[in-house]
């Protein structure tokens, strides 16, 4: 690839929530800002912009990652998923989201999109994830409202539900 000039915008092709997108951005643009300001997906939240709070967590090639510590240029050709990809339909929550609602896993909701993306990746990679694995993943997120206990309960419930669905006769 040629050297991309700082003063201009450049096209970045990648996959976003299953669809091919082509976005224009300056080199200095963060993935979090590309998603929110250029593409208009504001589900990804921005708290600290230095990797500490976890609000901006998305999935890049299936792995949870900080959108605020990723340059838009770095996701060229990658598969990016945001919280908008979770619900199968605008009127239907995903099982993980529904469990958050049932177990009061959110209050103000600022931290929620990031936490959902981390836990969604965990439950996909490790369907037998237990309390410790969930807590380990949550250690990369700050929540100022819930005290975390209800988030852990919601995740455990979603994991259990997912296991039942996968082995319907068990």
């Amino acid at each position: 690839m040629p050297r991309l000039n700082a003063a201009r915008k450049h096209t970045i092709d990648f996959t976003l929530n299953g669809k091919a997108v082509s976005a224009e951005a300056e080199n200095r643009m963060l993935l979090s800002d590309l998603l929110r300001h250029e593409i208009g997906l504001t589900g990804t939240h921005v708290g600290c912009e230095h990797g500490v709070c976890g609000a901006c967590t998305v999935q890049i090639d299936g792995k949870p990652a900080r959108a605020c510590l990723t340059l838009a240029q770095q996701v060229r050709g990658s598969d990016v998923r945001t919280v908008e990809a979770l619900a199968p339909d605008p009127a239907v929550l995903s099982p993980l989201q529904a469990a958050f609602r049932r177990h009061h896993g959110l209050q103000c909701g600022f931290c929620t999109p990031g936490i959902l993306m981390s836990l969604d990746a965990l439950l996909r990679e490790q369907p037998d994830a237990g309390r410790e694995d969930i807590r380990e993943h949550l250690s990369g997120h700050l929540c100022r409202c819930t005290g975390y206990a209800t988030i852990v309960e919601a995740a455990l419930a979603a994991a259990e539900e997912q296991r039942k669905e996968e082995t319907p006769n068990a």
């Binding site: 003063a7 230095h50 990797g51 890049i60 990723t70």
Partner: protein, 275 residues
């Protein structure tokens, strides 16, 4: 909290990357996982004129065994080495250290070599490399050289890396049968940088203790056996020889106490693993 502007190059070959770094002088910088560099860009503590993204260079994405060393290329992410099937057999010290290194979400992007290049005085990977007695392969347009870990780290976030040079790989000595390894640290919260981190090796020659978070770089020391009556004095001397400082995270006195107590615990665990 937005980066200042910079040119961006995603080279197709290592030669192209090295040429850009050579021409860019001190203003061109490698970007690997971005987990330390992007926060610095966001806060404008770093204002490079050019970033060279090395993550698409296939040649750098390798974990290889060569003789008694494991060679980890600059394109290997921390999570990839953490998931490497032979890690607990060949690099048990790293297997013990990884859970302390940031979070799942930062290890998914951050690289092994990026952490070595960043040289944070409390970082786990530089400490592990120094304690194991590993080395770093450096490469510039003009030359290749190998530097022993202990000579590579020269101060607070300062290394022997010259202008136009990059880390091509790091070399970790492979675990030997009959050696015990252990890693422990104390931090405020899980995933935070350590206040003090300690790495220990027990082998037929005796004990070695590596300490990070106290001096301006990781340091390693030999120690007499735990049941030797010189042990307490020896570890106390180590604690006082490190330039412990007070900062917002901990006092110098607390850090020295951690060197003594955490150091002893880590050495005990390494000795148990050896037995």
């Amino acid at each position: 909290m937005k980066p200042a502007s910079f040119d961006f190059l995603c080279p197709d070959t290592l030669e192209e990357a090295l040429a850009a770094l050579a021409d860019g002088g001190g203003d061109a910088r490698v970007i690997a996982g971005g987990q330390s560099l992007v926060p610095m860009l966001n806060m404008r503590l770093a204002r490079p004129s050019l970033l060279v993204d090395i993550m698409r260079l296939e040649a750098l994405r390798r974990i290889e065994t060569s003789g008694d060393e494991i060679i980890v290329g600059a394109g290997v992410r921390q999570a990839e080495l953490e998931a490497w099937t032979d890690l607990s057999r060949d690099l048990p010290l790293l297997a013990a250290a990884f859970p302390w290194l940031g979070h799942v979400q930062t290890r998914a992007r951050g690289t092994v070599c990026g952490s070595i290049a960043h040289a944070d005085p409390s970082a786990e990977l530089p400490l592990s490399l120094v304690t194991l007695g590993g080395a770093v392969s450096l490469r510039s347009r003009k030359q290749k050289r190998r530097v022993e870990a202990d000579d590579f780290f020269i101060g607070m976030m300062a290394t022997d890396l010259a202008e136009g040079e990059m880390i091509e790989a790091v070399h970790f000595p492979k675990a030997r049968p009959g050696c015990g390894y252990a890693f422990r640290e104390v931090g405020r919260r899980h995933g935070d940088f350590a206040i003090v981190a300690s790495a220990a090796i027990a082998d037929e020659k005796g004990l070695r203790l590596g300490i990070a978070g106290v001096d301006d770089r990781p340091r390693v020391f030999p120690l007499p056996a735990l049941d030797n009556d010189q042990f307490d004095d020896a570890i106390n001397d180590i604690a006082w020889s490190l330039n412990a400082r007070d900062d917002i995270h901990a006092s110098a006195r607390y850090r020295r106490e951690l060197v003594r107590s955490l150091g002893r615990e880590t050495l005990k665990e390494a000795s148990r693993c050896r037995a």
